[in-house]
Symmetry: C2
Subunit: 192 residues, 2 copies
DNA sequence: GTCTATAGCGCGATAGAC
DNA sequence: GTCTATCGCGCTATAGAC
């Protein structure tokens, strides 16, 4: 872990803190304590807090969407791809014993306190996920494995909202089992 | 508006600020500016910030659940009740031109920075909504107006998560129209 | 690239007069 | 119940030595 460069270690720690506490409760002092360098050194890498947040969302978008594209490119049927996609959110909740939410769910909540560049990146995260879910849904409709009547975009938006919301609610109520029951509710309606 | 007592005006302003900015970006100074009294006077009504937040969630729970109980008690069929229920969330987004989210969505995001009493009240908000949605879903299943296969609790949790999440995502992308498309996605799957 | 030191501000909270 | 005044702290950010 300590063989990563300092910039990466700062980003890792900052992301963890934001996912647990939110942007406005996270501070350079917290990062300083966790990484083991002084506050001023963090400012060398990220002059202003907004620079740090912006770099963080961009990195997160890149990582996350790359994994999603891997799921899209696989040979599986649509319900399997959807289950794997949902698994990404389950993994976030599991890795933290239930007190981390999706970075963009947190930033979406605190959106009005963000700089405009960061806000735009959060917006892009949701839009890109929506587009990829539409691909899965259309595959499912074509192969007859997923059933819905109307616009796939509506269903895709529903799924994005559902997963982001489920992470927030899960953290108050039951952790991972709650998210699993939300997943089961969705699959109940979508795959039958 | 100014004929309300000071305590109520403080709560009104604080709720508006939290729904827009979050708990950790809202301050006694902001409230002071908006209400027109000094910071020290706010501390007279709510000695600590946690007291204010706790009173706010309790009041919100009372107001919100009373309205929901009114919907449950009406004579309408289940899809109509569900549409009215979703309308409560649409109203929040509309009244603020799209930059206010459900109080408990915001507090759910910042949950780990809340006092334990406030956190418990947020938890109760989600649980009470879940219970009431189950009543609507069972009515719909019985009258044949709503179709789902499995546990109504799963569907209810899905709907709670979906609405809380949709408010966050709507704020980044398109405001009310986004929330409407999420609603249409849900009804597409549930009522057919 | 990391450090010490510090500026300058806003925060929650309290004391005590009126 | 509201005020003035203030305390002590943590915050973001900067200057300048090493």
């Amino acid at each position: 872990m300590n063989d990563k460069d300092t910039r990466t270690r700062i980003l890792d720690v900052a992301q963890d803190l934001i996912q647990r506490l939110g942007v406005n409760a996270m501070s350079y002092q917290h990062i300083s304590d966790a990484v083991g360098i002084r506050k001023a050194s963090i400012h060398h890498h990220f002059p202003a807090k907004e620079d740090l947040v912006q770099a963080l969302v961009e990195r997160y978008n890149g990582f996350f969407l790359e994994v999603v594209d891997g799921i899209l490119a696989s040979e599986a049927d649509a319900p399997t791809k959807l289950a794997r996609y949902i698994g990404l959110f389950e993994a976030t909740l599991s890795e933290s014993q239930g007190d981390k939410v999706c970075l963009c769910a947190m930033l979406g909540a605190e959106l009005t306190t963000l700089g405009s560049a960061s806000a735009a990146s959060v917006r892009r995260f949701f839009a890109e996920n929506e587009d990829r879910l539409i691909v899965i849904l259309e595959q499912g409709r074509q192969e007859g494995s997923i059933r819905f009547a109307g616009d796939p975009r509506h269903i895709a938006r529903m799924i994005v909202s559902l997963l982001e919301g489920a992470m927030l609610v899960s953290r108050t109520t039951g952790g991972l089992p709650y998210l699993v029951s939300v997943r089961d509710g969705l699959l109940d309606l979508l795959v039958h």
